[in-house]
Symmetry: C2
Subunit: 212 residues, 2 copies
DNA sequence: ACCTGTTTAAAACATACGTTTAGAATAGGG
DNA sequence: CCCTATTCTAAACGTATGTTTTAAACAGGT
């Protein structure tokens, strides 16, 4: 009768949290429903009860926080846009790329919240053949489409195709960093140390700005 | 008694070819031994006979062509180095990055050979938790280590850490392109068309050169 | 032909999987 | 308190999994 019991950590949320983490570290097929339910300390059938199927659970994990990050990106874009207009200048390339990369990188390195896990989950999802991953991507695609006119305004000589290719490359740098930040030390023959997230973000933004 | 029967397509090779393709399109856990053997038209137990286990098969797929690509990279590096020395100049940034990216991108877009499949397999392997993937990566890491002095020679102001971060970013752009080339159209709102591999390579190299 | 090592075949094994079912426990409103 | 909808539990179902076993087929050398 009542719409929802939203008191702290009910079974549903616990399942989402746990499966978010497991899906972030392993592929869809490699994570079993039993692993999720046992780690979440709920009954095996809870997944099917709340989400219908394992696939339904996966999509629920995605949906839960997807819009937040993209809204944050658009918020940063508008913020930069208004600041630029106030000063009677154009938005800078750095503003745009920073607006795209700051939310995920900030969340990735923010160890307190569960967002860090979600970012890794998201990056991995890109490789998941889970049938409707194309639909899942569409939201992010639409957000980036909003950035395109700004890019073209700054670099009018670029075709739309050029812009999209460069955005594609930026996503590549971002995803790779998300997926392999934990072994950057190995990949660099121990040359790279742990550093604050702003430093990592700045490296990323600098590389992408120049590349663009 | 005889060392090996290398006549064309024996069962072992057929298994390797098929599983290479399946592992390129799906995660380790999502590809079943039965799917491999049935598609390869061999008996179910052939995988365990030849490779000991499913894991053994996966590593065998990796090992089969891993050294080739890295040798090709080093070959291009030496080629550029000698050409530069002959003209009494330094190797260019473009030479270095092109040497890293040309082999995988060329193979990726070469539809005749099975290498295209392998490149996608490789890119996906990076996300596989298959226990010793860190060892698997080491070979590629070692190859890139050979590039580092050249980069530092061109840009002496960069620390070793800086160089490795930039190489890391280049890998990101490359892997992302490999993994998502098939849906670049979707990601770009249909703005990006199919194009010859050299064009794609040049986009990549240009982006990475500027970013570096 | 015989022997020897290699390869293929069919069947079975034990376990893990996602999902379903039927019923008990729980909670809140009347 | 009773009623109803929701949540949770335990057990089972059918199937798919990786691997093992046993033996047959095959090949090449002597």
């Amino acid at each position: 009768m009542k719409p929802k019991k939203n008191t702290g950590q009910n079974a549903r949320d616990r399942i989402l949290d746990v499966s978010e983490e497991l899906f972030a570290n392993g592929s869809f097929a490699s994570v079993s429903v039993r692993a999720v339910t046992s780690k979440a300390a709920v009954n095996l059938s809870a997944v099917n009860y709340y989400f219908g199927s394992k696939q339904g659970l996966f999509q629920a994990v995605y949906v839960r926080r997807a819009t937040l990050m993209n809204h944050e990106r658009l918020r940063l874009l508008h913020e930069a846009d208004e600041a630029a207009q106030a000063q009677g200048r154009d938005v800078t390339l750095r503003d745009l790329i920073s607006a795209m990369l700051t939310p995920p990188i900030y969340w990735l390195c923010d160890e307190d919240k569960g967002f860090s896990v979600y970012i890794r989950f998201l990056a991995r999802s890109y490789l998941e053949e889970a049938s409707d991953m194309d639909n899942v991507l569409r939201q992010e695609v639409d957000v980036f489409a909003r950035f395109v006119p700004y890019f073209q305004n700054i670099k009018p000589e670029l075709s739309e195709e050029d812009v999209y290719w460069r955005i594609h490359f930026i996503m590549g740098v971002m995803h790779h960093t998300i997926n392999h930040l934990h072994r950057i030390s190995l990949l660099s023959h121990k040359a790279c140390k742990k550093e604050p997230w702003e430093t990592t973000r700045d490296r990323l933004v600098a590389f992408c700005c120049e590349g663009f």
